[in-house]
């Protein structure tokens, strides 16, 4: 920078040079952008705009909240904890692992009939499916049917990557810990007829469409599923290999919907996952009429050791999903607060505007 001594050089950033040189004006362009005069809308938060906003928010939120709350309250839901930690529980016997397979039965009563489609969930508590190491312990390539990943699973799957030198399919802690209790539901039609009527539980249609059809795929190839999974071994905890999860081909292997549902890890340590679907049969009869039921549990899944809990949930559904009073209450609360705030601000504004007005007049 120091070296501009020829007077005719235009010094970078120097004053205009060389009289007699082309008299090029250095006047900046007169564009709205450069002169910072872009046409603009300048909203100002005045009492006239802010206060109505508060009232409007209040007026909109409260009805929505009430709507959601009512909808949510109309949903039928029953939750049965079958962990069996209490000695009185029928499943208490299954806590000690010497009885295999352990089957226990829990009776319950539906006070009101469940209309429409009914969904059966299993719920787990204190189960950290969202633990970082748990969440990443999977190989999506493998689950997507990539043949290379099938025989050579991702390192993320450790320590459930290989078992006795054979690659595990599906690998990883998530798959390994798949929920494997079997739940069956029976309706005790009436007291006179002791033979319970089993409720038909659909195994398919419980996973996301994208998961079932895009994300999860069986390894490609001809032949049976068993052949396609050749060279792999089952996860350590599983009683049988992945190609024997279901009898039907379109629900077997990686595209087994129970597996898919399980693999979609929960966000919170207490969660529920769709287990079975109870489809509405006809319009005349409720899907689950009021009455006595019993739940038949094949108790395999150990949660007792880490204070986990297991639940079975039956629920109907509304336009906005399952039973969840939170949104309704929240909307009503926020609506009311907003309304109240509007009133408070109105008062403050009224009170202070006058006093500060006089002050300003004096200042100007």
């Amino acid at each position: 920078m120091a070296m501009n001594c020829n007077p005719k050089d235009e010094v970078d950033g120097g004053p205009p040079c060389a009289p007699g040189g082309a008299a090029k004006t250095r006047r900046p362009d007169n564009t709205a952008f450069k002169q910072q005069r872009l046409p603009a809308w300048q909203p100002i938060l005045t009492a006239g705009t802010v206060l109505p906003t508060f009232f409007i928010v209040g007026l909109i939120f409260i009805p929505i909240g009430i709507g959601i709350f009512v909808t949510s309250n109309n949903i039928r839901e029953i939750e049965i904890d079958y962990t069996g930690t209490e000695p009185s529980s029928p499943c208490n016997k299954c806590l000690s692992s010497n009885v295999t397979p352990c089957v226990c039965t829990i009776n319950f009563t539906l006070e009101k009939a469940f209309e429409g489609n009914v969904f059966m969930y299993y719920g787990l508590s204190n189960f950290y499916q969202n633990h970082r190491r748990y969440v990443k312990s999977r190989d999506d390539s493998q689950l997507n049917g990539d043949p290379r990943a099938l025989v050579n699973p991702s390192k993320e799957c450790e320590p459930y990557r290989r078992n006795e030198d054979l690659p595990i399919a599906p690998c990883g802690a998530i798959a390994n810990s798949m929920f494997n209790d079997t739940l069956e539901l029976f309706l005790i039609t009436n007291d006179s007829d002791p033979t319970p009527k089993p409720i038909l539980l659909q195994r398919k249609g419980i996973a996301w469409w994208t998961d079932k059809h895009v994300k999860f795929r069986n390894p490609p190839g001809e032949g049976t599923l068993e052949e396609r999974f050749k060279g792999t071994t089952k996860p350590v905890n599983w009683p049988k290999p992945v190609y024997m999860l279901d009898s039907e081909d379109d629900n077997n292997g990686f595209i087994n919907e129970d597996l898919i549902v399980w693999m979609r890890t929960a966000a919170l340590p207490t969660f529920r996952k769709l287990y079975r679907l109870i489809e509405r049969t006809d319009d005349l009869h409720p899907t689950l009429p009021a009455g006595q039921y019993y739940l038949n549990i094949t108790y395999n899944y150990p949660v007792h050791s880490f204070d986990g809990r297991k639940r079975m949930i039956l629920s109907t559904i509304s336009w906005m999903g399952g039973k969840n009073p939170f949104l309704g209450i929240a909307y009503i609360t926020v609506g009311s607060i907003s309304f109240l705030l509007g009133v408070v601000l109105l008062v403050i504004n009224h009170k202070y505007r006058n006093s500060s007005n006089t002050a300003d007049t004096m200042a100007f």
Partner: protein
């Protein structure tokens, strides 16, 4: 030897053995090969970059890596590459300029012939030839020149910014070589001289030639960077080359200024680190507990890693994992965004048409792009006077001749715009630029009024101006002071044209008739005499003495018969002074021949006396300068720049204090202070600090303080005396009333030395305006530093000359006026423009906007990062503190860099809370910045709290929404990926809404950027979660189909709306209620008083007319002289008159030179005795005519502070004579 440089002319073999560098220079930092490593190294030296590098390495460790490394690598790469590209472009420019400079051609003496070669090939010892108007190639020893006495004139503007010519002189022995190439190529002088150093005014050496030794000093050295002027050619031997030249030795690294915001940011970043560490610690403890209570038993499903032996080990690892996850608390793009904002706002300054000065074709320039927001916080403005407040153009405005006033009052001129200019067409030699508005004077001249004629004759004879007539009829005057130039020009236009001078004649064209006056003596100006006289013999053989000088002095010397005229003229002078004009009295005397002969004899005796010559001379002068006949008085306007008073009033309304630091005299400075409204007539008092010892100054200051604020004297008395207890910050005190302070340089130096600085500062800061006169450049810087040190405020220094460079560099912000005094100030400034009044626009409009934008940007930037990051903290409590992220890692990678960067940049480039007109109409708005109200530690804490609240909402609302909830088709939505999506989407909505609320100026760009970014987020969502991408890389893009499944859910949208409203409502309420409960000026004027402002805009209140009171007469003696010894001696010595009379007797020449150098010695010692500091302090270039006694001061070049110090010390010590 070790401390000397040895060289021989025309002997490359010898000099090359010493290994001197060649003349190539290199200012570039990198080359193609080392660019990458060196640039990366430079960048990683920045704390933030290094931090992220460490993070990247942390992420490489699988045991603690909680995030895919691309989440940090990608942003870091982007940030690094942007900076690298910028550096590369900068360096490329430097390469080009180096290349251009190195390849300039120069004439080199090779084998008895002149050959053209490139600059870079010049070696030490080479003899080169320079032609007129050429750049000096290297530091060369002048051998010979085309001018008489081996003189060469150089312009040093590049070095010190002074545009006046300096004279260099060759040794007579070398000058005899002339341009004889044979002689030159056989010249084998050996030179021993100093090692390369950066002292521009120091050079000593010995030339050994033909067995004789000659002493060399810096008079004989042409420095690289100078330009040869008025000299047809010269030859020189190269002494220093390339990096050894004084110019390059001086071009050290520029002082790197950092803004207060930068410092605040660094503190805040440290706070964030601390917060980060605390949070990670809490989480690590939580993890330890969780691991032993639950994790240990959960091993049936999730076994511990084999390297984890206990929960403590696990917790330690988790600590680092969370350091990685929460790293976004320290926003990686913070620094680069800040830079971008500053750069953008600098462009606005460059682009501003209202700061473009058409007459000079100069737009405003932000030369430093890193200080912009500080422009919105300025509290103290330190201004130079000459050339900054004033134009440094003197115009002959009015005069009083023989009791009659001519010329128009300034105000009248303004009122009657069509007032006729005087037509000077009768005079062919008139200067067309000269304007005068009173025809009666011309008529008086034409009618041949004797007094008028004498008056103008006196003006055209009694001066030391040089004239140059390159084209017939086009006279160019070289005046020592602009005042003098103005007077001679005025005389010229009225028909008394000073055309040429020799050492003993003055050629005049009087009303078209050429006359030659014999110049018999010049009784030169000095600060004591305050007058100058000439004695001439007219063509009519009359002996006349003409005298002009300060009225107070001349009055004493007048003949008693002029009494009545004197009284009338004094009244006129009072009038002129009220208008702020600079006045001089003009008188003459007819001399008797015999009396003159006798006097002349005495004069030459005194002139040749060796002891106490100056004193003897002035006694002789006094003998003849008496019984003068008064001719009249002149009034010269020191023209203020446009709109200076208005600007200063506006700035004062913005509570900006303006101090004028000038090298000028007290009277002039005070006069200017009044005329530009720094002082006002109705002020309660103006204090003068003029003492020159501790007691007096202390007393003066105490008195001032006692008057302004009586109670402050008592309580702070002890604190000022006991120095070890110096307070860090001197608090602001509010005086009762408005006062002004005037302090001169000598008292200031005294006050600073004698530990009165706090006392001084206290007094000065209570005053409305402060004028410091007679300041050296160093003192200017000291004043700035004094304020900087004890007041936590932003200072701005504005100036135009080389003597302002030190203060421009010292202040937080330096503004250079690209004016008349060269460009040194401009080159060292951070901002530059041509007119002082652009300052109000720079500060009140650009500064304020940038500051507000920066503050909005920072508070929003921190907020958005806190919200983003703290969600992880809440989530930790629900995932066993396992370092699981809430978001998709792609979202983490893109959030700062893509999704949210553009809206916030848009905000900080386009937002205007109040448009430019209001900003200028209501300068009070500026105060928010001065007190740092818009972004400070408290505001930062607000951001933190706001961020915590928002992140709380953003985590828990989605959590409770999806917690044991299902889709409308009964399927899962409580899975992690859906949860991520809801939180991400809510976060984007909240952030967008918040920025929308912050935006007060919605341009098309704002809409585009704000809504565009939100739209872009959704597009990216569908892209990143699309089947194609996810199937290609299933392990990288894992969120297949989540967007499709979840975004169709009503619940999810209800949750997003709920979070958004919950986050936004408090903000709206706060924005609304804040001005009601805690009004600050911005809100008062901005939001709620909108109608009032609009009203004001529509019907502007006319500015109150300031009543012009008659000023007390003490200010009148603003005589129009610069404060230097005149040219007289040189004129009479004949040196400057370019007589190309080489045939003149050499002996005579030598005697002349002796005389001159002798005179120089005397003059210097005299000056230092009389008023030591003075000459340095002058706002004008130092001693123009004196061949070289004034060393070129180079405050402009860095590292030369030292030089200035020496200068000032020497000056004060009175030992200046030693150097001559």
């Amino acid at each position: 030897s070790e401390n000397e440089r040895l060289l021989q002319a025309n002997n490359r073999e010898l000099t090359s053995s010493f290994g001197y560098p060649d003349n190539a220079i290199k200012t570039s930092k990198y080359n193609a090969l080392n660019f990458l490593p060196m640039n990366l190294f430079e960048q990683f030296r920045k704390l933030a970059n290094a931090y992220f590098l460490v993070l990247v390495f942390l992420q490489m460790i699988p045991q603690i890596s909680s995030l895919a490394s691309y989440t940090t690598v990608i942003p870091l790469m982007v940030v690094l590459s942007i900076t690298a590209v910028k550096d590369a472009i900068d360096d490329l420019k430097r390469h080009q300029s180096d290349h251009q400079v190195n390849n300039r051609s120069v004439l080199l003496l090779v084998d008895g012939r002149m050959e053209e070669d490139k600059w870079m090939n010049v070696q030490v010892g080479d003899i080169i030839k320079l032609k007129n108007n050429e750049c000096v190639t290297a530091d060369i020893l002048l051998l010979s020149s085309s001018e008489s006495h081996g003189l060469a004139y150089v312009e040093t503007a590049e070095l010190d910014g002074e545009t006046n010519l300096k004279v260099k002189q060759a040794l007579s022995v070398t000058n005899d070589l002339e341009d004889n190439l044979e002689l030159l190529s056989t010249f084998d002088g050996e030179i021993k001289c100093d090692l390369p150093n950066n002292k521009l005014d120091r050079f000593t050496g010995i030339l050994t030639y033909k067995g004789q030794k000659y002493l060399l000093d810096h008079d004989k050295l042409l420095l690289r960077g100078c330009i040869l002027r008025n000299t047809d050619w010269c030859y020189g031997v190269v002494v220093y080359t390339g990096p050894d030249t004084k110019l390059m030795q001086n071009s050290g690294k520029a002082i790197f200024k950092r803004t207060q915001m930068d410092q605040l940011l660094n503190v805040l970043v440290l706070w964030i680190f601390l917060l980060l560490a605390i949070m990670c610690f809490i989480i690590a403890v939580g993890h330890g507990i969780w691991q032993s209570k639950i994790g240990y038993y959960f091993q049936i499903f999730l076994p511990w890693e084999n390297y984890v032996s206990s929960s403590v080990v696990s917790a330690t690892l988790i600590y680092w994992s969370y350091i990685i996850i929460l790293n976004t608390m320290v926003p990686i793009s913070l620094y680069i965004s800040v830079e971008i904002i500053r750069l953008g706002n600098s462009f606005y300054i460059n682009w501003d048409r209202k700061m473009f000065y058409a007459p000079k074709n100069t737009p405003a320039q932000a030369r430093t792009t890193t200080l912009n927001e500080e422009l919105g916080q300025v509290k103290y403005v330190f201004s130079d006077k000459t050339g900054t407040l004033t134009q440094n153009i003197m115009t002959f405005n009015r005069c009083s001749i023989n009791g009659k006033v001519y010329g128009m009052h300034n105000c009248h001129k303004r009122l009657i715009k069509k007032y006729k200019k005087v037509d000077f067409s009768y005079n062919k030699l008139a200067n067309p630029n000269f304007l005068f508005y009173d025809n009666t004077l011309v008529e008086a001249v034409k009618s041949g009024d004797k007094w008028v004629h004498l008056f103008f004759l006196s003006l055209s004879l009694c001066h030391t101006v040089m004239s140059e007539e390159k084209v017939e009829g086009e006279l160019v005057y070289q005046a020592q002071s602009p005042d003098e130039g103005a007077l001679v020009t005025a005389a010229r236009n009225f028909g008394f044209v000073f055309r040429a001078r020799t050492s003993d004649t003055i050629t005049m064209v009087e009303m078209g008739e050429t006359k030659v006056y014999q110049l018999l003596a010049i009784l030169d100006f000095s600060n004591v005499r305050k007058r100058m006289s000439v004695i001439v013999r007219t063509p009519e053989d009359q002996l006349l003495l003409f005298c002009k000088g300060a009225d107070t002095i001349i009055c004493e010397l007048l003949h008693s018969s002029c009494k009545d005229l004197t009284n009338v003229t004094m009244e006129h002078l009072d009038d002129f002074a009220t208008e702020g004009l600079r006045t001089l009295m003009v008188a003459y005397r007819e001399l008797d021949v015999t009396f003159f002969q006798a006097w002349r004899h005495k004069h030459s005796v005194a002139y040749l006396s060796l002891e106490d010559r100056e004193n003897k001379l002035s006694i002789v002068y006094e003998e003849i300068e008496k019984d003068l006949m008064l001719l009249g008085a002149t009034a010269i306007e020191d023209k203020l720049q446009d709109a200076v008073p208005e600007t200063i009033i506006t700035l004062s309304k913005a509570k900006i204090k303006i101090w004028v630091l000038t090298g000028d005299k007290q009277e002039t400075a005070v006069n200017i202070a009044y005329s530009c409204s720094i002082f006002e007539e109705d002020m309660d008092g103006v204090f003068m600090v003029q003492g020159n010892n501790y007691e007096t100054i202390c007393q003066e200051l105490r008195t001032a303080r006692a008057k302004m604020k009586p109670e402050s004297v008592l309580e702070s008395d002890p604190t000022n005396i006991c120095l070890p207890m110096k307070p860090k910050i001197v608090p602001d005190e509010v005086p009762k009333g408005r006062y002004g302070l005037v302090i001169n340089g000598y008292s200031l130096a005294c006050a600073l030395e004698e530990n009165l600085e706090l006392e001084l500062l206290q007094v000065a800061c209570m005053c409305k305006g402060v004028i410091c006169c007679r300041m050296t450049p160093l003192q200017k810087a000291q004043v700035v530093q004094l304020v900087k040190r004890y007041k936590k405020v932003v200072t701005l220094a504005i100036g135009d000359g080389a003597n302002d460079v030190s203060m421009i560099k010292a202040a937080h912000i330096g503004v250079g006026i690209s004016g008349l005094e060269g460009m040194q100030a401009m080159l060292n400034s951070d901002f530059s423009f041509s007119q002082f009044h652009y300052l109000q626009r720079l500060l009140l409009v650009h500064g304020r906007w940038t500051y507000n934008r920066m503050c909005k940007f920072l508070s929003f930037f921190f907020y958005k990062n806190f919200v983003f990051t703290l969600v992880h903290f809440w989530y930790a409590f629900y995932n066993g503190f396992s370092a699981q992220t809430v978001y998709d890692s792609w979202f983490i990678a893109c959030y700062n860099l893509i999704y949210t960067s553009l809206p916030v940049l848009g905000l900080s480039l386009f937002d205007q809370d109040v448009n430019e007109t209001w900003s200028l109409c209501f300068p009070e708005l500026y105060e928010a910045g001065q007190h740092n109200l818009s972004f400070n530690k408290k505001k930062f804490m607000d951001c933190v709290l706001h961020g915590i609240y928002s992140s709380f909402v953003l985590f828990f609302v989605p959590m409770w929404t999806i917690c044991s909830s299902e889709c409308s088709d009964g399927k899962d939505i409580s899975d992690f990926q859906t949860f991520s999506l809801i939180v991400q989407t809510s976060l984007m909505c909240v952030v967008t809404m918040q920025i929308a609320l912050k935006t007060t100026y919605w341009t098309v760009m704002s809409h585009l950027l704000i809504w565009g970014s939100l739209g872009f987020y959704f597009c990216m969502l569908f892209l990143l979660y699309s089947d194609g991408l996810c199937l290609m890389f299933p392990n990288i893009f894992q969120f297949l189909g989540v967007a499709r499944n979840s975004l169709s859910e009503t619940q999810l949208w209800l949750s997003v709306v709920l979070s958004t409203v919950l986050c936004v409502i408090p903000t709206v309420g706060y924005i609304f209620i804040k001005p009601l409960l805690f009004p600050v000026s911005v809100d008062k004027v901005g939001a709620r008083q909108l109608p009032r402002i609009r009203h004001c805009m529509k019907y502007p209140v006319p500015p109150p007319k300031r009543a012009r009171l008659k000023r007390p007469s003490f200010r009148r003696s603003a005589y129009a002289f610069s404060h230097q010894q005149g040219f007289g001696a040189i004129i009479t010595s004949g040196k400057m008159t370019k007589l190309r009379s080489k045939k003149k007797d050499k002996l005579l020449r030598k005697s002349h030179l002796m005389l001159v150098s002798h005179h120089r010695f005397q003059a210097s010692s005299q000056t230092s005795n009389v008023e030591g500091v003075e000459r340095d302090s002058v706002g004008l270039p130092p001693a123009r005519g004196r061949v070289s006694s004034c060393p070129a001061r180079l405050p402009g070049l860095s590292g030369s502070f030292q030089g200035v110090t020496c200068e000032a010390l020497v000056g004060r010590g009175g030992s200046r004579g030693e150097r001559a």
